[in-house]
């Protein structure tokens, strides 16, 4: 992220509050100069962390207006006695420092579950955190919110509209594969475009469906997943009604870029796998097939071993609870057809092995016929390193 890509009117800061053992910033703050239109989606897990519950209720109470996002890493503040109090007290103290309504601060946490979070660790650092606010610190935020991720993750876009340029920039964390007690996905995207809150919300729902809902983690949804988009209007540029789709496309691309970075950084992952499905009876049917292929450990281990095992792909598709005729299916791996009309197609095994050793793998599942439904999912290969990291986490 180059500074000149950053949206206008936002400030960032990070600090080390001692929540994680390793001395590495674990507190991050994003502030909008003027309260921004905000939209958010949260985990669907029945078990919801205290910061998720408070962020939800703040979004309702403020009618989607947000001035600041306060994030901590190292402790999920979930399944704890004092969780609600900690989330409320820390956001309220921050609101006071920033002269915001308490419900205009949204909290997010990631880290260990079931361990009490000492609010004083955060409260004592808030004044310094606010003093540190600056225009360019978004990359620091990207680093501070990491847990066991290897790489900080960010994406930005500029969109040229009739009335001027607007900018989007986002950061995210998450593992693409599960982490012990640390499975959380967080994402924060800022834009300086002028976007009405209700419209922003609809765009976020659609864009997250095409990005974060299309990466295969492992079927698990964390107790803390949080995705927030802020639009503070600081550019003064409001997209024309006709240009709203252009803006939405940029938002979608930004979220897709962030989501793909999560998959690529999956624990033990060496390959990013794109799964495209075409020719299903609807986009939803295509998405169901793509999800089933992407979630299959059978497929993910095959790709890890550079094994062109199309039988696993066909079988995984058959488990999607979607109607299709297997004899109409073609499967293409790395641009080589390996299955035609549901039967083996001849290919050069040695050449295919080399192709599958690439760090980017493409699977195209095409059903012949009248169906127009299509969908793309992203997943990663499943390697021994993944198990190693997860099984040995506490030791």
């Amino acid at each position: 992220m180059r500074p000149f890509d950053l949206p206008l009117g936002y400030k960032y800061a990070t600090h080390y509050a001692g929540i994680r053992k390793q001395e590495k910033d674990d507190l991050a703050l994003i502030v909008s100069g003027v309260p921004a239109a905000a939209a958010a989606v949260f985990t669907t897990n029945r078990v919801q962390a205290a910061p998720v519950r408070l962020a939800r209720s703040n979004m309702r109470a403020s009618k989607g207006v947000c001035g600041a996002i306060l994030v901590n890493a190292g402790n999920a503040n979930c399944a704890t006695k004092t969780g609600d109090k900690v989330a409320a007290n820390t956001t309220r103290a921050l609101a006071k420092l920033l002269k915001l309504q308490p419900n205009q601060v949204l909290p997010a946490s990631t880290g260990v579950i079931g361990v009490e979070l000492d609010e004083n660790l955060i409260l004592s650092k808030l004044p310094e955190l606010v003093e540190r606010l600056n225009d360019t610190g978004l990359p620091d935020v990207a680093r501070a919110i990491l847990t066991t991720d290897l790489q900080p993750k960010g994406a930005s876009r500029e969109v040229t509209l009739r009335r001027g340029i607007v900018r989007l920039a986002g950061v995210t964390k998450g593992s693409g594969m599960i982490h012990p007690r640390l499975a959380t996905t967080l994402a924060f995207v800022m834009t300086d475009a002028v976007i009405p809150q209700t419209l922003l919300r609809r765009m976020l729902v659609r864009a997250s469906e095409l990005s974060y809902n299309r990466i295969s983690v492992d079927g698990d949804t964390s107790t803390n997943d949080t995705l927030i988009v802020l639009a503070n209007g600081a550019s003064g540029v409001r997209p024309d009604p006709k240009e709203m789709s252009v803006f939405e496309e940029s938002l979608t691309e930004t979220l897709q870029s962030l989501a793909r970075q999560i998959v690529r950084d999956g624990e033990g992952a060496r390959k990013l796998i794109a799964v495209e499905v075409h020719g299903a009876l609807s986009d939803a049917a295509a998405a169901a097939i793509a999800r089933s292929i992407s979630n299959s450990p059978l497929v993910k281990t095959a790709i890890a071993g550079s094994d062109p095992n199309w039988g696993r792909i066909l079988s995984a598709a058959g488990n999607a609870a979607v109607n299709f005729d297997p004899t109409q299916v073609d499967i293409t791996l790395q641009d080589v057809k390996v299955c035609r009309n549901g039967l083996a197609a001849p290919f050069d095994e040695a050449d295919m092995k080399v192709r599958l050793d690439d760090t980017d793998v493409s699977i195209v599942f095409r059903i012949a016929g009248k169906g127009k439904g299509s969908a793309t999912f992203w997943t990663c290969d499943l390697t021994e390193d993944y198990i190693h990291i997860n099984a040995n986490y506490r030791t």
Copy 2:
């Protein structure tokens, strides 16, 4: 399986037909002296192998009467041009040799997908296979149907009823964890009790729900899964109407024993994990929670690492799309309470590590309140060996 446990009136034979490369019997035959009442459940995968399609239609055509089951290992006869013809020709030839109606022979196959199966390999061995039929060869069948399983799997029961003793015996194959192109679960259970076909069918549906549908493989369902129960009445003993539940209980236990053996033999698995859920609003809700915990790689890797990571269990339960109050949840690991009312309960870490090193692990998830729903699932730990075996299958 001791011979005297075997149900009366069945004969068994195996042979090597050269379907698999390794010279190890790959053809198995189960014959009932008189055509038996038969009930069967098959894969729900949209992609169905030829033998599954033929077995289904034979079951319909014969109205649930079966005289013989013909099984081959080494080739799934799925996604092949000649699949239907091979299944039809081999079962028809066997029927002729055994003087059965063609639709009284049920085929089952397991092995590689997408490779043509040469019917002559089977046809040329059928006469010898029939000659080899004998009373005691069920353990040979258990071995012949294995693919990458390490252990042959069988279970038997005697049930003493008012009018005499009836016997059940079954064999199964499957990996509990996925196998490359070899994910199939097969099970064949024979009894000499007199059970009407319609009743047998209802019992099988319920019993398989409580056994094979309660083991966690990996969400994948093979194209070839087949579970057949035969009741030939050779004992002459028909359970009283009141005793039918006693028989059904034995059938359920037999299937549960077979299913648990599959899990224990899972690739790379070192531990059998029993997941009990109590206090849900219904048995179905309890099953959904138990399934979600059992399917979670997060939980399975924790157990592999002897990590008492109850946060993962709570979070996996929260993903079951079932309503429960997390603050009412107690979690017990190896008889030690590690979570009480949704919060950490103190326990001795060193002692727990030793307990979790056992090859049998118990997880009990109990929701306080009025709910009476309960369910038990079985799964295995997820280890590096599993990945190693699957990623390197073809190389």
